[in-house]
């Protein structure tokens, strides 16, 4: 399994990028070249140099340090938002699958459809205008949109597993609803959920960047890739690199998580398993 | 008409088919019987030039004077569907679910440039009628899912015989069907062979089905020929221990309360088979020689590739 994984190009590339982003985020907890919050107006809008690897912004803050802390921020949003989606979504999906065709199932799935009918970012903006801007509220908004995604995936996969004989065999053995889900269904759909989670993770990072860009996500002075982009807009003519670096950071990590998801999908698919 | 000589198929160096030779005359039916892993389906795919990419075929497959293994894919297309028809176990996977069955039959005819679309559709109706589909003129515009399993298999047969091939390869064509439907399909295949003169290579795991359709039988195990001969003789007095074991394992004719005589063990993976006789290890008569050397054919009432064949009666 591990040998096969290491020969899978998109998995390997995705894993490396993901590890790099996670490593950077973790490192920022202990060390950054400069304190990303400290402004040195004298040093504003410096191009990349030995002192400031990626230059400085309009307040003289070190861009590299800000990107590092921004990575931590993006990861935090991703983890919590996807975590909300997985726990609530999978639970709802299981409840729906268990009572397939029942009123409860209908209610859950229609609620999911309802959420899907709205453009995610637009509704996130709506939610944030109600709850007020801020990173915690952004996480909640993004998390809410992850719930129906996981509910659907989990329900569909669970129904497929439930149609198989070993579920019937478990019932014949005397197991009932909850313990069948715990013992048989969850382990068999875990792979699919993990794949979906890595894709949703990429989307969550993108959404956080988008909301922060609009100024309703992560609030200053906490650095965020999206807000860095927004700030850089004003100085696009003078210092175009200011926009390019956070843009690359976003693109790079989204790509990484997507590749990881692709790779995992291939690796966890029982159909491609070695015979 | 079809002569397979020393066919060897390997997958990354592991032999899947070992030195297989057999022949088939015009209008004849040959039954190929074997369990899973015997290589019976691979043999069919090798003849059609449809082996999975990782497999290598050596030897000769001579069909109407041409070695098919030498042909590239473009040249092979002139044979596939045109001169050699094929039907599979599960017609649902071989039929395109989004096209009407008449169109699918006609497509083969148009593809091989035999007739134009209008004529081909008319021919499709005639073929459906020929394979025993009732109300054929209405059924041409049915979709595969609207048909029963037996009807789908009839459509497959109509498709396979549309270009009047001289060879039909049938890979377990009735294994997914109920016995009553199976019986009808077997009758149909026999009629078509007799009336259209199509030679038939009939692949099955079921000796009783083979007994019904083929005059000659070839028994495969682990990619090698075990025994071949007249079907009646082979079933009545098998000479190879494997054929004998296979027959003894059937419950047919055993009275209640008596024990069956299974072949011990299970079919090992291809890479674990002995270089000599693949049946070595499960064979009650095998010895060291069998493990290391491929057994030579022993010609008597049947031909058995065995160092210790039974005496024919």
């Amino acid at each position: 399994m591990i040998g096969r994984a290491l020969r899978h190009p998109s998995f390997v590339v995705g894993l490396l990028i993901t590890l790099l982003v996670i490593g950077t985020g973790l490192l920022s907890l202990f060390w950054t070249p400069y304190d990303p919050g400290v402004m040195r107006i004298m040093n504003r809008l410096r191009p990349p140099s030995e002192l400031n690897w990626l230059g400085t912004d309009q307040f003289g803050r070190d861009v590299f340090s800000m990107l590092m802390v921004g990575a931590r921020n993006a990861l935090l949003v991703g983890i919590v938002a996807v975590g909300i989606g997985v726990t609530i979504g999978v639970t709802l999906g299981m409840i729906a699958a268990h009572g397939e065709g029942s009123l409860l199932d209908e209610a859950i799935m229609r609620a999911c459809d309802f959420t899907f009918a709205f453009p995610a970012v637009l509704t996130a903006i709506l939610i944030l205008t109600f709850l007020g801007p801020g990173v915690v509220n952004a996480i909640i908004a993004i998390g809410i949109f992850n719930i129906p995604v996981f509910a659907r995936v989990a329900r569909g996969a669970a129904l497929q597993v439930m149609a198989r004989d070993f579920i019937r065999a478990a019932r014949a053995a005397g197991r009932t609803g909850f313990s069948i889900i715990l013992r048989h269904i969850l382990p068999n759909i875990a792979g699919l959920i993990i794949v979906q989670a890595s894709v949703q993770f990429a989307l969550a990072i993108l959404a956080e960047a988008g909301l922060s860009y609009l100024g309703i996500g992560t609030q200053p002075p906490n650095p965020s890739w999206g807000r860095m982009l927004n700030d850089a807009q004003t100085f696009l003519a003078q210092a175009p690199l200011l926009a390019i670096f956070p843009g690359l950071a976003i693109a790079f990590s989204v790509l990484g998580f997507n590749l990881l998801g692709d790779g995992l999908r291939d690796l966890l698919d029982p159909k491609t398993k070695e015979r | 008409m079809l002569r397979v000589e020393n066919l060897r198929i390997t997958l990354r160096g592991t032999p899947i088919i070992r030195n297989l030779s057999f022949s088939l005359d015009r209008g004849e039916a040959l039954g190929v019987v074997g369990e899973s892993g015997s290589g019976k389906s691979m043999t069919a795919l090798a003849i059609m030039g449809l082996l999975p990419g990782l497999m290598r075929a050596e030897g000769k497959v001579i069909f109407e004077g041409e070695n098919l293994l030498d042909l590239d894919d473009d040249a092979m297309c002139l044979y596939r569907g045109r001169r050699i028809g094929m039907i599979f176990q599960e017609p649902m996977t071989a039929l395109n679910p989004v096209h009407q069955v008449g169109d699918q039959i006609a497509e083969t005819l148009v593809l091989h440039g035999l007739m134009d679309r209008v004529a081909a559709l008319r021919e499709a109706t005639r073929l459906l009628d020929r394979v025993g589909i009732e109300d054929a003129s209405r059924r041409v515009s049915s979709y595969p899912h609207e048909l029963s399993g037996g009807q789908r298999q009839r459509v497959m047969i109509a498709m396979a015989m549309s270009c009047k091939p001289s060879l039909l390869i049938a890979d377990e064509p009735t294994s997914a069907l109920d016995v009553t439907v199976q019986s009808e399909i077997l009758d149909l295949l026999r009629d078509l062979r007799l009336q259209e003169g199509m030679a038939t290579l009939f692949i099955s795991h079921d000796l009783a089905v083979i007994a019904r359709i083929a005059r000659r039988t070839l028994v495969l195990y682990g990619g090698a020929a075990m025994e071949t001969g007249d079907t009646g003789v082979l079933l009545k007095s098998p000479r190879h221990p494997y054929t004998k074991g296979l027959l003894a394992a059937l419950p047919h004719g055993h009275s209640r309360g008596t024990r069956l005589s299974p072949i011990p063990g299970f079919v090992p993976a291809a890479k674990h088979l002995a270089p000599g006789c693949p049946f070595h290890g499960r064979c009650p008569r095998g010895d060291e020689t069998c493990a290391d050397f491929p057994p030579p054919p022993s010609f008597e009432a049947t031909t058995a590739w065995c160092f210790h064949p039974e005496r024919g009666s």
């Binding site: 198989r164 004989d165 070993f166 019937r168 065999a169 478990a170 019932r171 014949a172 053995a173 005397g174 197991r175 009932t176 013992r183 048989h184 382990p187 068999n188 029982p270 398993k273 | 369990e35 899973s36 399993g149 109920d178 016995v179 009553t180 199976q182 019986s183 077997l186 795991h205 079921d206 000796l207 009783a208 089905v209 007994a211 019904r212 079933l235 009545k236 074991g245 296979l246 027959l247 003894a248 394992a249 059937l250 419950p251 047919h252 004719g253 055993h254 009275s255 209640r256 024990r259 069956l260 005589s261 299974p262 072949i263 011990p264 299970f266 079919v267």
Partner: protein
């Protein structure tokens, strides 16, 4: 021999209907009578064969006998108790008496569970108090009985051949020492040489455990070989029923005759 034995399983006028999708916008939904008014009895130590083609309702019937599916009409009794009157808890506590072996040895074992846990599952439900050691011993004992070794315990289903998996499935069904075993096409997916091994195993175990067996198959030869009594099903109905030898040597119903005639034989 069996007429006086205690009645283990009884089904009375069982019916199960499926609603099909409606044809057209306003048409009524057609109803498929999967099982139509079927009654049966199974006595201690007896083997009942159920024969039928696909769509005959034999698998639906098996699931209703196992209380895996609710009948629309009729009732099922295990050891004289009407199971539809039992509470879910009471039903669960009686499941160890009646177990099942499925057709597809690839689908009936959870691919993510070790053989030890798969085989132990019915025991876990019946005896949750069992120590890990006793549980393992019980699994090992039954695995050895079906011809597998301790080596199998820690392995996963995909590491076994079809025949071995069916042995594992049988071990699992027998670990609670049931009195009734329902086998739904247990050898249809297996190679001929392996079929005979599993059939021998089943008849040995039947004798050893004193099992009453319901053996469902489309293969008349196998049913004739194994069953004392046989029931022929067609389109959800029982068309013929009787002592196995009598039904096969002198079939009374047209459908049974057609089936026997269609069965390919070796001496044709």
């Amino acid at each position: 021999m069996t007429a006086s034995n205690p009645l283990l399983l009884e089904a009375l006028n069982l019916s199960r209907f499926y609603r099909l999708p409606r044809r057209g916008l306003f048409g009524a939904r057609p109803v498929l009578k999967a099982v139509d008014n079927v009654s049966l009895t199974l006595r201690d130590g007896e083997t009942l064969g159920i024969v039928g083609e696909s769509g005959s309702g034999k698998s639906t019937l098996a699931r209703m006998l196992m209380a895996l599916e609710q009948p629309d009409r009729g009732e099922v009794s295990w050891m004289g108790e009407n199971i539809s009157r039992l509470s879910p808890l009471a039903l669960r506590s009686r499941r160890h008496e009646i177990q099942m072996v499925f057709q597809d040895p690839y689908g009936s074992l959870d691919p993510r569970m070790r053989v030890l846990d798969s085989v132990a599952e019915p025991l876990d439900v019946a005896r949750p108090d069992l120590s890990a050691e006793l549980r393992r011993d019980a699994v090992l004992e039954i695995l050895e009985r079906v011809g597998l070794t301790a080596e199998a315990l820690r392995r996963y289903p995909h590491q076994f051949s079809g025949g071995q998996r069916q042995r594992i499935a049988i071990a699992r069904a027998l670990i609670t020492r049931p009195r009734i075993l329902v086998a739904d096409e247990p050898v249809s997916a297996l190679d001929v040489s392996i079929q005979a091994q599993i059939l021998n195993l089943l008849s040995d175990l039947r004798a050893e455990f004193g099992l009453a067996l319901i053996f469902i198959s489309h293969d008349l030869g196998i049913v004739r070989y194994l069953a004392d009594r046989v029931m022929v099903m067609h389109h959800g109905k029982v068309v013929e029923e009787g002592e196995s030898e009598a039904v096969f040597s002198a079939p009374a119903h047209d459908y049974t005759r057609a089936l026997l005639a269609a069965m390919p034989k070796l001496d044709e």
